[in-house]
């Protein structure tokens, strides 16, 4: 079973997200990164095993948006679906994210309801 890469600078948000998904019966293994830098390293090592990226926006060192700008340019990884999970949830933010990545898999605004997150990512786990 493929892995889900969770990228968020808040440990608690990563834990919450994983808890919500495991609680919904999702059995995939999770990889975790605290910022875009760490995520790129992880992606380089594991990209063949990753089926989905859950990405925060505001992070130190490299933001989620900068990470995504990099990922979309790399053919080896740009087919991996990305779902943004961010506290910034205005229409403008969503548009910016889609401008950077027209294939964006979804945009979930924190704090989210568990079912909302699960509904968005379910199709990428089939």
């Amino acid at each position: 079973m493929k892995k889900i890469l969770v990228i968020d600078d808040a440990d608690l948000e990563r834990e919450l997200l994983i808890e919500v998904l495991r609680g919904s019966g999702i059995k995939n293994e999770f990889l975790q990164a605290r910022d875009g830098d760490e995520a790129i390293e992880m992606l380089g090592l594991n990209h063949k095993d990753i089926c989905l990226i859950l990405l925060d926006w505001q992070m130190p060192k490299m933001s989620g948006m900068e990470f995504m700008e990099g990922v979309v340019k790399v053919p080896a990884v740009n087919q991996i679906p990305i779902v943004m999970v961010s506290a910034s949830g205005t229409d403008d933010n969503k548009k910016k994210a889609r401008d950077v990545n027209p294939q964006l898999g979804g945009y979930v605004v924190k704090p989210y309801k568990p079912e909302e997150l699960v509904n968005v990512i379910q199709e990428y786990l089939k």
Binding site: L12, L16, S88, P111
Partner: protein, 193 residues
Amino acid sequence: MAISAKEQELLSYVNLLVNTVKKLFRDRGEVEFSKDPILTKRNIVEYNGRMRADGMEKFNNPTFVAAINFYVDAAAMAKHSALGALVVYVEQDYVATMLKRLKYPPIDDEDNKAMCDACGALCNIIAGAFKSALVAGGYKELEMSHFSSYRNTAPNGVEFCFKEYDKYEICFHIDNAKRLVLELTMAPVPKGR
């Protein structure tokens, strides 16, 4: 006493923030504050060009502090030219309880790093919701920083707009005890997109 247009503007952001926090706590954790938040205008205490943020002053007890800045656009953010700052203070003894009430996973309350992280996560969701409320109120979309968090005090202070001299302190009470203190300073936010 009449207040200036600028003060009125700051107060309108404060009111937006108060309503945002009330909604967030109600929706997320079914938490109702036990009385109306107490708003106090204070002077910004500056050192080395940054705003002092001291948690011990808020609760007279160990406190976790988290801060997020707002910027007019990405270029201003890159230059660290802040338009505003939101600082969140939660007393150490209440961090784990508050996050539990907001349906976050349990936190090890003896782990400073986990407590800082939790306070940062709280600051992040408040700041994000506040930013959305500003947009809904007809203001320009602001850029928002990632959070920084500390125990007791932000040793190097917090970025703020150097043209601002005032901030608002907002105290929220849960079960009749002061449980959450926010500080907001904000230069006038441009209207529209």
